[in-house]
């Protein structure tokens, strides 16, 4: 029994046994404590820097601060686009353990707010890490405080105060100023504000064209948060910088008047200062309320706007192109004068002009004057006054398309007026080379005739026409078209566009008669009083008139469906004695220039003359 290993319990020599075994246990305990001490040394000394980082990552969160967008003023210093405070909610996926649970908690907290969980999840998973994603854009104060109170249940979700754009002028300015909406994926690379998912960017109009000026600079701050994401204190901050303000040359009162005058019609108006190229109004109708875009717009509303046949989303003053029709005639006449045609020379108009065309059975192609019975003998002044087509067919044929195109281009047709507007169209001034390059075929004589009366391939915009007229009227001085004051380019160039000042006299005289002499195309819209306007009407066809229809008698515009009616155009300037303004009006499918466009221009001039509004820049200081 004494041999070790045979006993169950050793019950002899217990003193020694206990000491021995207790010693062993003590050694084991010392060993375990050493392991613990070693482990603590490893965690707290060796791995300290690692865990320090993790601890900071836990408690410190980086937040970008949204900059306030620059304000847009009008000529008089009236704010047209401002910022309002709004309450919004964002989510950061990496700061929540369960995105879906956080979102469903939010949803049950705000049952009446539309939260599209599926879409948000998609967005959250596709965006960069730690990028805050907006959940609700514009919240009431009550809901906002509800979220704040229940923040502990909403891991990763943060309520914050942001800015929303507000347009004081509403729909009268919407095309011009544009609107902002969330930065799209394609803009992410170029826009530093994209680090903030709630930030917006200009999408169209001045908001887009001048976005880099208006957007401002992001600020940022480091905050300490607790485990439930509540902000405990701010550690440091770099404030955001508000975007620069912009002052437009537009007078919002005039713009509003122009827009109101277009109400019920589909068309556009452009008003320009002939002395310095500043645009006072650029209105387009119908329009939309730009403030609907500061909230996320519903698909339904968007669809309605898109499918409307009057195209309310399009800025018709720069983005729609129309054949200039007879409004081109002053420029064709100018080209003729430069080509040595005497303004005294008379040409006979019997209502039509024939040119040889072997492809037709008759061997001739007929070009009609708008007046079936013809104008008889007309000289240049008369031809402009009564808008005789046959005169211009013959003139155009004589001087050729290239000369016409050269003069038109010189005055700014076929070229964008405002370089920075991406939605602007350049129009088309066709010539032989253009046709070869773009259509791949040779120029035909008949096309010169069409171009002579502003039809065929000719396309212009409302803004272009007003600028072209302004540059002509202002003694042919080249202007720098201006919409935004940016102190960069001189408003008037020391460059004469007109070959001989006496040509201008002839054209001006003709335009004056066209409006202010009986028989002139816009005589009905003349202004009686101290100040007068002068201008040229235009009616551009949107359909080909068949021979059959011509024989049976033309269908009156008012009997045609809206889409088939002619566009009505008018370009004019005033006062005739000392021209200050040039106006162009295009009424889509308005029937005729004299019937639809000229009365509008007349009203605008009356407004300009009678109201005597001081169209002088009111400079902005201390924004």
């Amino acid at each position: 029994m004494k041999k070790s290993g045979r006993f169950i319990f050793q019950k002899y020599d217990t003193e020694n046994l206990i000491n021995r075994r207790a010693a062993l246990v003590t050694i084991a305990k010392a060993g375990v404590f050493s392991v613990l001490a070693g482990r603590l040394a490893y965690l707290q000394i060796a791995e300290n820097s690692n865990y320090k980082k993790l601890s900071d990552k836990n408690r410190i969160t980086h937040r970008f601060l949204e900059p306030e967008r620059g304000i847009i003023f009008d000529l008089q210093g009236r704010p047209m686009a401002i910022n309002k405070q709004k309450y919004e909610i964002i989510i950061i996926k990496e700061e929540t353990r369960d995105v879906e649970r956080s979102l469903s908690n939010l949803k049950s907290l705000l049952p009446h707010v539309n939260i599209d969980v599926e879409n948000i999840l998609k967005e959250v998973n596709s965006r960069k890490k730690f990028l805050p994603i907006g959940i609700v854009d514009d919240l009431t104060w009550e809901d906002f405080s509800k979220v704040n109170v229940n923040i502990h249940k909403l891991e990763g979700i943060y309520p914050q105060i942001g800015f929303k754009r507000y347009y004081t002028q509403g729909e009268s300015h919407s095309h011009l100023i544009g609107y902002v909406s969330p930065i799209s994926k394609s803009e992410e690379e170029s826009n530093p504000l994209s680090k903030l998912s709630t930030a917006k960017a200009g999408k169209i109009g001045v908001e887009k064209a001048k976005d880099t000026i208006l957007r401002g600079k992001l600020g940022n701050k480091n905050i300490e948060v607790n485990a439930s994401g509540r902000e405990i204190r701010e550690l440091d901050r770099v404030n955001s910088v508000q975007g620069n303000y912009i002052q437009l040359t537009i007078d919002s009162e005039l713009q509003k008047f122009c827009y109101e005058r277009l109400k019920g019609l589909s068309g556009s108006v452009s008003v320009i200062n002939v002395k310095n190229g500043e645009f006072y109004a650029l209105a387009s109708s119908p329009s939309y309320d730009p403030n609907i875009f500061s909230k996320s717009i519903s698909n339904e509303t968007w669809e309605i706007l898109l499918s409307n046949k009057y195209k309310p989303l399009i800025n018709k003053s720069i983005s729609n192109q129309y054949p200039p029709g007879s409004t081109i005639k002053p420029f064709v006449a100018l080209a003729a004068l430069e080509s040595g045609v005497s303004h005294k020379e008379t040409l006979f108009c019997n209502g039509k002009h024939l040119i040889e065309d072997t492809s037709l059975d008759s061997g001739y192609k007929t070009f009609h004057c708008w007046k079936k019975e013809g104008h008889g003998n007309v000289d240049m002044k008369e031809a402009i006054k009564v808008s005789c087509d046959v005169y211009f067919y013959q003139i155009a044929r004589r001087i050729g398309i290239n000369k016409i195109a050269e003069v038109c281009k010189r005055y700014g047709l076929g070229e964008k007026v405002f370089k920075s507007f991406y939605e602007e169209k350049s129009g088309v001034v066709p010539n032989k080379q253009w046709k070869l390059e773009n259509l791949g075929s040779r120029w035909m004589v008949g096309e010169t005739l069409s171009a002579g009366i502003g039809q065929g391939y000719f396309l212009t915009t409302t803004a272009q026409l007003s600028l072209a007229l302004a540059q002509l009227i202002n003694n042919g001085n080249k202007l720098n078209p201006k919409l935004v004051y940016d102190n960069e380019i001189p408003s008037v160039y020391d460059e004469r566009l007109i070959a001989d000042p006496k040509y201008l006299k002839i054209i001006k005289n003709a335009l004056d008669e066209a409006t202010n002499a009986p028989g002139g195309t816009s005589y009905r819209s003349r202004i009686i009083g101290k100040y007068k306007m002068a201008g040229k009407t235009g009616t551009s066809q949107v359909r080909a008139i068949s021979i059959k229809e011509r024989e049976e008698g033309l269908i009156k515009n008012k009997d045609l469906p809206w889409e088939k009616r002619d566009h009505g155009l008018f370009i004019g300037y005033g006062p005739t004695t000392d021209p200050k303004y040039a106006v162009s009006v295009i009424v889509e499918h308005g029937g005729s220039g004299s019937g639809s466009a000229a009365p509008i221009a007349s009203d605008i001039f009356k407004y300009l003359f009678e109201k005597k509004i001081n169209l002088k820049r009111n400079e902005i200081f201390n924004v």
Binding site: T14, F33, L36, Y51, L54, D56, A227
Partner: protein, 375 residues
């Protein structure tokens, strides 16, 4: 038998013979706990720190009452005390208070107590008496099977609560006494081997959350947001404390609530964050000193019962400290064991004072010889 004078002089003698360094260390640990709780409650003494103090004072009363008891009386009632504690475990399923899916507490006179905390010590008491009483020539059943049953019954009862951590401490405490009292080491080898073999079988009896904890322990990345979160945050808190710590009441992990259960099981972590490696090492040394003194005192007793009891209590205390610190440093799975004297918790405080009261009693009465009884 005694006259008044005698009683007083005896009591005074007993007070004099208390080992004050040990008591001093206990009070030191309590003060560390008090400081930790004061920090966690952000300087509000009236919440956790106050209650912690009240419990400690109650613990001290228990300690001193136990000190004055006659050791023979304790020996005599050892089984009864053990039996009572077992009864309290048995009635838990019927009268217990449920919390977090486990029923561990009973309400006695308005105070919630966790009987399993006390069973750690009463088991030692019972086993010490038993091993004291067996003879050299006792048979296999008497010497091994019966004490094993005594050990397994409370372990089983605690597992069903369910409270795996406490059950393991009870088991380890009991087994340590088998070792101290001289069980042939071959049985330990066989025991360890058979436990290893039966692990897969035991696995099936674990609750899901317990399985999770064990799995997460072996692979914390498995569940970084659930169970792994606690371990991870605990390691971050300790690690970010560095050598000198972030400063008292400056811990970000604890004060910003990243640290779970910081007033109870993870209080060591919180101290580590605020006082750094210097702090944790110092705390570890205090515990080591307390254990060393306990062992020294235990070995001074003349009776086997005293030695067994003291060493057993010392072992239980050591296991407590080891499991808790091992758990918060990521060396052991999270099993929910408080840090004695420091963690906020009434039962743990009273139980550990009960244990040290017994230990001190053994030391004061070290010269008393106790006769063997018939078990």
């Amino acid at each position: 038998m005694y006259n008044q004078n005698n009683i007083y002089s005896t009591a005074f003698a007993k007070l004099q013979s208390i080992n004050y360094p040990l008591l001093g260390l206990i009070i030191t640990l309590f003060l560390v706990g008090l400081a930790a709780l004061y920090s966690i409650s952000n300087g509000d003494f009236n919440s956790w720190p106050l209650k912690h103090s009240q419990r400690f004072i109650l613990g001290l009363i228990i300690f001193f009452i136990l000190v004055f008891f006659d050791l023979r009386l304790i020996f005599g009632y050892a089984y009864v005390i053990f039996f009572l504690s077992i009864i309290s475990l048995v009635i838990i399923p019927f009268f217990g208070i449920e919390s977090n899916g486990a029923t561990r507490w009973i309400n006695i006179a308005g105070i919630s107590l966790q009987p399993s905390e006390f069973v750690k010590y009463t088991l030692i008491l019972a086993l010490a008496k038993y091993f004291h009483s067996i003879n050299n020539d006792s048979g296999f059943i008497k010497t091994l099977i019966i004490p094993l049953i005594i050990t397994v019954v409370p372990v089983f009862l605690v597992i069903t609560q369910p409270d795996l951590g406490t059950a393991l401490i009870i088991l380890l405490g009991g087994i340590s006494l088998f070792w101290i009292s001289g069980l042939n080491y071959k049985y330990f080898i066989v025991g360890v081997f058979s436990i290893l073999c039966s692990l897969p079988l035991l696995w099936q009896y674990l609750k899901d959350y317990q399985k999770d904890r064990v799995l997460t322990f072996f692979n914390p990345e498995r569940d970084p947001l659930g169970n792994g979160y606690h371990i991870m945050q605990s390691k971050i808190a300790l690690g970010s404390g560095g050598i000198f710590g972030k400063g008292y009441m400056e811990g970000t992990q604890s004060h910003l609530n990243f640290l779970p259960e910081m007033q109870t099981d993870f209080i060591f972590t919180m101290l580590g964050e605020e006082f750094g490696f210097i702090g944790t090492l110092l705390l570890l040394l205090i515990y080591a000193a307390l254990i060393m003194i306990s062992i020294r005192l235990a070995l001074k007793s003349r009776s086997l019962f005293s030695k067994y009891l003291s060493l057993g209590i010392c072992n239980v205390f050591f296991i407590y400290v080891f499991v808790n610190i091992g758990m918060v440093t990521g060396l052991l799975p999270v099993v929910g064991v408080p840090l004695p004297f420091i963690s906020y918790g009434g039962s743990s405080m009273l139980a550990v004072m009960f244990g040290f009261g017994l230990l001190m009693n053994c030391y004061i009465n070290r010269d008393i010889i106790i006769e063997k009884t018939n078990y």
